[in-house]
């Protein structure tokens, strides 16, 4: 076996030194009746070339040459080449969680830089070293708010990503955190502020909204914060599209921000691994879940970094920990750090503006077709928008696929009241030609419908 650095003779010699007759001696504590006496029924040993062939074939079967207007929590942005050059360095790729600070300063400093960038972008004081993803991060943020306030209820906007809400429901059920949903205004796609005000009470630990929300609409964070804070509840803002922060005002009135940083240079990879992160006001630091890197000095006064405030964590506090999280998304956070360094202060804004322009053009081009309507015109949006069609989407999406275009995401599963509505996303990687083609193909059947 090519990964095993031993010759048969060496194995024999080692056994002899240990005083074992055969390798089976070392497994003698396993009761004989349970020992496997046959080969596992898994594929035979493959050559490296065969492994590559197998996955290439799988990749081709997946179809690669489609233009895609899908977003909804997973965004296709350009990934600068140096991200993969750097994260594939063995010293980053094959090292463990940096508990031994003297020989993991590289990882520790990179995480410290990540925490700084996330704090800068979100307008929060501090950020952690990462969470699994945006969905679990949002659930952990709600649990954090429950610990801070000593209250036990959560109020959640219906415009939070439906799968994030499902994950929250799974966590909340067993934490005994009753959650109620607040609907959106049909004209704007924004949370209904009057309904929110009616829902938030003295028992509310947190209000959870997403901005830009699932429809791509940007929420009025200041107004929402006022309502939450008036009753002593915390405001949690979930951000699924991190690139928006290049041009959208950060949610500075929030108490906690839970962000999915996949947009910062992380491949779509059919849904993961992505990179969640929680940022917050400094006063809530001790209730944060997950790892934190802090600056300190060594015995000689040199600057250095360590994992800190670990008395919050499971390996110290066990059942009293702020979360059970252990492994996080360190290497993916490193991708995001490199991405943000490549684009920098000006680049992130320019990139976000390109997204804004593409989406503005796409929204108008698609909704200009007879039988297609752009919903939620009454509020600003980033790079996603909702189109309602007269023709059933099964028909036009089939035509689009024939033209090698994956159209918007069907919203009927979660928002049946919107009829034949689809969520479209246009990032900087969509071309004008692809948008024009999509509009043309869409129009072909809409007229007749």
């Amino acid at each position: 076996m090519r990964y095993l650095p031993k010759s048969p003779a060496e194995r024999e010699q080692m056994l002899e030194e240990i005083g074992a007759v055969s390798i089976e001696d070392l497994f003698s504590t396993i009761p004989a009746e349970y020992r496997l006496t046959r080969d596992l029924d898994v594929p035979r040993q493959h050559a490296e070339s065969e492994i590559i062939d197998y996955f290439r074939a799988a990749g081709q079967k997946n179809a690669t040459d489609y233009a895609s207007f899908l977003g909804a929590g997973a965004y296709r942005h350009y990934r600068p080449v140096i991200i993969d050059s750097l994260v594939q360095r063995g010293e980053f790729l094959t090292s463990y969680t940096p508990y031994q600070a003297e020989i993991t300063q590289g990882t520790l400093q990179a995480i410290f830089e990540f925490q700084t960038m996330i704090a800068e972008l979100t307008g929060m004081d501090v950020a952690n070293a990462s969470m699994y993803d945006g969905s679990t991060g949002a659930a952990e943020a709600v649990m954090m708010a429950v610990r801070i306030t000593g209250r036990h209820k959560a109020v959640v906007a219906r415009t939070v990503h439906p799968e994030y809400r499902e994950v929250l429901a799974t966590y909340a059920k067993h934490q005994a955190i009753p959650t109620t949903l607040v609907d959106y205004v049909r004209k704007t796609g924004r949370i209904d502020l009057a309904a929110l005000e009616a829902e938030v009470t003295e028992e509310t630990a947190a209000v959870l909204v997403q901005s830009p929300n699932f429809f791509g609409t940007i929420e009025d964070i200041a107004a929402i914060a006022e309502i939450a804070h008036a009753k002593g509840a915390l405001l949690i803002v979930s951000i699924a599209e991190a690139v928006s922060l290049g041009v959208v005002r950060p949610p500075i009135e929030a108490d906690i921000v839970s962000m999915e940083a996949q947009s910062f240079g992380v491949a779509l990879s059919y849904g993961g691994p992505y990179c969640g992160v929680i940022a917050a006001k400094e006063k809530y630091l001790r209730q944060m879940p997950g790892r934190l890197v802090g600056q300190t000095t060594d015995h000689d006064g040199n600057r250095g970094f360590v994992l800190t405030l670990s008395t919050r964590e499971q390996h110290i506090r066990r059942e009293k920990a702020t979360s059970n999280i252990c492994t996080n998304q360190a290497l993916v956070a490193l991708m995001a750090t490199i991405f943000l360094t490549v684009y920098g202060k000006e680049g992130i804004r320019e990139l976000a503006e390109h997204n804004l322009a593409k989406a503005a053009y796409a929204a108008e081009a698609l909704s200009a077709q007879p039988g297609a309507e752009l919903l939620f015109r009454g509020a600003p949006r980033f790079h996603e928008f909702v189109i309602q069609t007269r023709e059933p989407q099964e028909l036009w999406s089939k035509r689009l696929l024939e033209s090698k275009i994956v159209g918007g995401l069907d919203l009927r599963r979660w928002y049946p009241e919107l009829g034949d509505a689809t969520l479209w996303c246009a990032t900087e990687l969509i071309t004008r030609e692809q948008i024009d083609t999509a509009a043309k193909v869409l129009a072909a059947g809409l007229v007749e419908a």
């Binding site: 990964y3 070392l26 950060p250 970094f305």
Partner: protein, 509 residues
């Protein structure tokens, strides 16, 4: 054991040489923000092919007026910055990384290549199933392999890491008990368990009841029988245990639990000691998680991403997280969302797919014979270390070791040297420390897991280093207590870091 380690020189010596390492200069490098200057760029966007928009008027109140303070650098500076940082890390690629319980094995490079194949890496999670058959087949094959390896009936790949898998597994336990009319109140957890176990039970709304280990560091069957009652939902058991010992009465443990209607959850962190030799499904486990970043070679990446699939018996299948992978009659695959008894979703989308690809590549590279040989070599290596160190380090439990061996610092403490000091001194000999002070049932534990990835030469260097340190403890304990002496930074002040936390850079103005 043949090699002798040269003793690293005392502090202040300009050059340190052992059998494994010699010091060499590393580059200094400030924070990326400190290197920034306005106007530098490492990016270029293509010309905009649609009309430009005025962001301020389009977004109104929602427009960002003050940019975040991100660094501004050129590409070469970014390459140097992160490359320099990388050289400050120890890594498996540099040598043995004997962290017990963490399974720091070789991460094959073909895994990285195939995870980046365009059709897989660029697949959007919401693309129609008809355009995702390739990745769905990969997921299906991995699921079938893991089911076979564990001897279980069904599986979900959705959990993002081991602790997330524990969470999912205990939710399955809870859902099943609820379906029987009573969720029950408590989970039994041995005192030797990983910290994630009790933290998980608490998050799932269970009380944690501690189970004291017996004189061999295993489950005390008499105590267990006494503690199981109608309120016990499950026992969370790591097997082999965290002292690297197989619970040889595992079937009795399972029987005791099942007799009272409780379930057996297995923490699969140590599954690398069992693959191809014995299957948890065959010895009574009802539900377990796997760590693809341990047993199945996906890289740890400085702390993640991981992946924590949960395998279980048939009776728990209705409760698996939504969605579940299914097959149409024509053989095409699709996601099934119609799961009325499901515990719900534990993560958006389907899990850390990129890790599934890597784990499957590893299984394909090994085949059944390679997987078995891997397990045997891991156990062989641990026993070789045990044999060559047990005369110098205290072995608190004499029970036979599987993939890891746990010593204690009892003899060294007499000289004022603790496990943490010995660990730091190992760094000077060119090794990453073992796991320090865990499991908690061994005071001053040295938990050593070599994995199968180490050659005899590397093992001998490690043994020589540990023996040399034992000698230093006797002769020059201060040298050990003040280690490491060869690193860029000396011991860092953790108290200062926690007392006045500095968690981000701020501009000095």
């Amino acid at each position: 054991m043949t090699t002798n380690a040269t003793v690293p020189n005392a502090p202040n010596s300009s050059r340190v040489t052992t059998g494994k390492v010699r010091t060499h200069p590393t580059q200094n490098e400030g924070l990326v923000f400190e290197k920034s200057s306005p106007g530098k760029r490492a990016y270029k966007l293509p010309p905009l092919d649609v009309p430009a928009v005025d962001a301020a008027s389009l977004l109104g109140e929602s427009h960002r007026k003050v940019a975040g303070l991100l660094p501004e650098l050129s590409e070469i500076e970014i390459i140097r910055h992160f490359t320099r940082l990388s050289t400050w890390n120890y890594a498996i690629d540099l040598g043995m990384y004997p962290l017990g319980s963490c399974t720091m094995k070789y991460n094959p490079r073909v895994n990285e290549l195939v995870a980046r194949i365009e059709g897989l890496a660029e697949a959007h999670p919401y693309r129609p199933d008809s355009l995702a058959q390739g990745i769905l087949e990969v997921i299906d094959l991995l699921q079938r392999c893991l089911i076979e390896i564990t001897g279980m009936d069904t599986i979900t790949l959705q959990p993002a890491a081991g602790a997330h898998g524990e969470f999912t597994g205990i939710l399955l336990v809870r859902a099943w008990h609820e379906s029987q009319g009573n969720p029950r109140r408590k989970i039994l957890i041995p005192d030797s368990a990983h910290g994630t176990n009790p933290a998980t039970a608490a998050i799932c709304g269970y009380q944690v009841e501690n189970l004291k280990s017996n004189a061999d560091g295993g489950i005390d069957l008499v105590a267990l029988e006494r503690q199981i009652d109608e309120d016990t939902a499950a026992l969370m058991l790591t097997n082999p245990s965290t002292i690297g010992v197989f619970e040889n009465e595992i079937h009795k443990i399972a029987d005791l639990l099942h007799a009272k209607g409780a379930l057996l959850y297995m923490d699969g962190a140590n599954m690398n000691a069992l693959v191809g030799k014995v299957r948890p499904g065959d010895f009574g486990v009802d539900v377990m998680h796997l760590n693809l970043h341990k047993t199945f070679s996906t890289p740890h990446g400085g702390g993640g991403p991981g992946s924590g699939p949960v395998a279980c018996k048939k009776f728990l299948e209705p409760f698996l997280p939504t969605p579940v992978l299914k097959q149409h009659e024509d053989g095409t695959k699709h996601w099934d969302y119609d799961r009325p008894q499901s515990v719900g979703r534990v993560r958006a989308f389907y899990g850390n797919t990129g890790m599934f690809i890597r784990a499957l590549a590893y299984i394909l590279a090994n085949g059944p014979d390679g997987l078995r040989q891997t397990t045997e070599d891991a156990v062989l290596n641990a026993n070789y270390i045990r044999k060559n160190l047990e005369d110098l380090y205290e072995l608190p439990y004499k029970t036979p070791s599987m993939h890891e061996v746990v010593f204690s610092d009892k003899r060294q403490v007499a000289k004022g040297v603790k496990t943490g000091d010995i660990a730091k001194r190992l760094i000077d000999y060119g090794f990453h420390p073992y796991t320090v002070s865990f499991p908690l049932i061994v005071p001053g534990a040295l938990m050593i897991e070599p994995t199968e990835s180490e050659s005899v030469e590397e093992l001998d260097l490690f043994i020589a280093a540990m023996r040399a340190i034992a000698k230093e403890v006797e002769e020059t304990p201060e040298l050990v207590k003040s280690a490491p002496h060869s690193t860029r930074v000396s011991r860092l002040d953790e108290v200062q870091a926690a007392r006045k936390p500095i968690l981000r850079w701020k501009p000095t103005s």
